[in-house]
Subunit: 335 residues, 2 copies
Amino acid sequence: MQKGKASIQFEEPPIIAGMASVAGKKEGQGPLGHLIDVIEQDDMCGKDNWEAAESAIQKKAAELAMKKSGAEKRDIRYLFAGDLLGQLIATSFGIVDLEIPMFGLYGACSTMGEAMALGAMTVHGGYGDQVISMASSHFATAEKQFRFPLAYGNQRPFSSTWTVTGCGAVVIRKGGRGVARITGVTTGRIVDFGARDSMNMGAAMAPAAVHTIRQNFEDFDVDETYYDRIITGDLGEVGKKILLDMMKEEGHNLESLYMDCGIEIFDKNTQDTHAGGSGCGCSAVTLCAMILPKIQAGEWRRVLFLPTGALLSTVSFNEGQSIPGIAHGVMIEKI
Amino acid sequence: MQKGKASIQFEEPPIIAGMASVAGKKEGQGPLGHLIDVIEQDDMCGKDNWEAAESAIQKKAAELAMKKSGAEKRDIRYLFAGDLLGQLIATSFGIVDLEIPMFGLYGACSTMGEAMALGAMTVHGGYGDQVISMASSHFATAEKQFRFPLAYGNQRPFSSTWTVTGCGAVVIRKGGRGVARITGVTTGRIVDFGARDSMNMGAAMAPAAVHTIRQNFEDFDVDETYYDRIITGDLGEVGKKILLDMMKEEGHNLESLYMDCGIEIFDKNTQDTHAGGSGCGCSAVTLCAMILPKIQAGEWRRVLFLPTGALLSTVSFNEGQSIPGIAHGVMIEKI
């Protein structure tokens, strides 16, 4: 059960019974657009403000994930959910109508990994037969929360990423048929290399991702050959380079099997997203739209899914603090 | 194991091996002052800003809880922690040096209940032998985050509460000797009665507390006579009245066994705190300083500890949204 220093191996792996992805127009125009369940053409989703739009996206994703996995609201015992905003307002207002007991989580863009880890632990521990794990972000709510008013038309350096508008939700079930299984988790710790550039989040998160990958290898006594793919959340082009360099220094060549959701979800040549996508929704949507279907189809048999979070806040940032990172690893395998 | 709709009964109840409370000067001058482990005379804790002070308080509480329970840093498998601030910055910077795998939580002032529920589930599930559950708040960081700059000297209505500066931390262990045991949990869901007054958080949270108490009674097929005390987190004088009225309407008379940490921690006649204390630290400090010692001493044998959270955010508030509430119940008994 406990494996090494920070990991859990599930003897009876919880099943991902179904998943759903809901995203914005720009994500719909990207390389994964045809794989995403629902594309919202209006980034306001017909609501009065962006936060309410993000809430609407969360609700839609949760409801669709239940529908696709044949579960009713009353079958879901717990909800593990979070977003990027202060006090998780997108989540609070998004899931209130579902009336499901709820654990609110904050792991910055690593939240989907945290939610899946706790969801799988809960189901495997016998505390519930079915739970939902989900995370969302919205380009406009995140810019408002962390950077500049959109109306400023602020210039963005090439190291910056573009927050994904979207939500991914999975229903995790104790057993039975499903899409894939969760065989283990490696929980990240906060890693602070002193990065201070909020327009270069990849650099802030890469060391945390390296730490969790290294911990996963150590805890399970494996190396990169154990996996078909190792997929980080939103390191983007800059973070990818740092991660590959750092891993290479430790003797691990990840070139051929490494992917990053942030690089997959947008086309950097045509979509002007610079280093790639980011936000809780980036890894959550990519997981549900692309990664899980590929595992279900047998194209990949074993994936280390590793949402990465930069613990940025305007308050700590303005006080001259660094941006620590955290990454939570989830081992997903073909059934 | 699963009990009713939203509860868990632990067959082998996890043990609270030790606890620590660290609080500010004002809390030290209150009725619980002599029971709190460490009183910081300087609300800045010698740091450059309030957020760093809150981080320092978190770190001190975690270290003292480990010391008092005879655990080393390396013995603690996971940390379940949170605070009130956007992106959990008090927590991120407070616990980074502990180098413990970490689940970041946000449940507003209900966070200590959420952390203890997940901590107990983790230990009972065999995922770790020892974990820490903790939560903090700081008067000045919270005012800055949610209300007005302190320098405005803003007037506060009598329904308002005073955010506690402090942190409570417990070490939860699989078995062995300890202070008390966690026999069950009831997980709250978000309850929105449409409260819109950020200066009256008690009214926003009381319906959520009532919902979780009702759910706990239903799931375990008990009523108020099952408990020696039912103790909410920070409803204050206004929320207390609402809760007692609502429960009475349902035929439950809680008068003689109900308490609220927010009412206990300050002296309303001399400390000018109006309706009482609030913040994640309010219930966490009161738990560690007063509730657990009384259970250990046998004065109370069974307590329903119920931290209550108001999901307030300036962003949603300014957009005209209501303030939903959530409350997480933890059943704590004498060993």
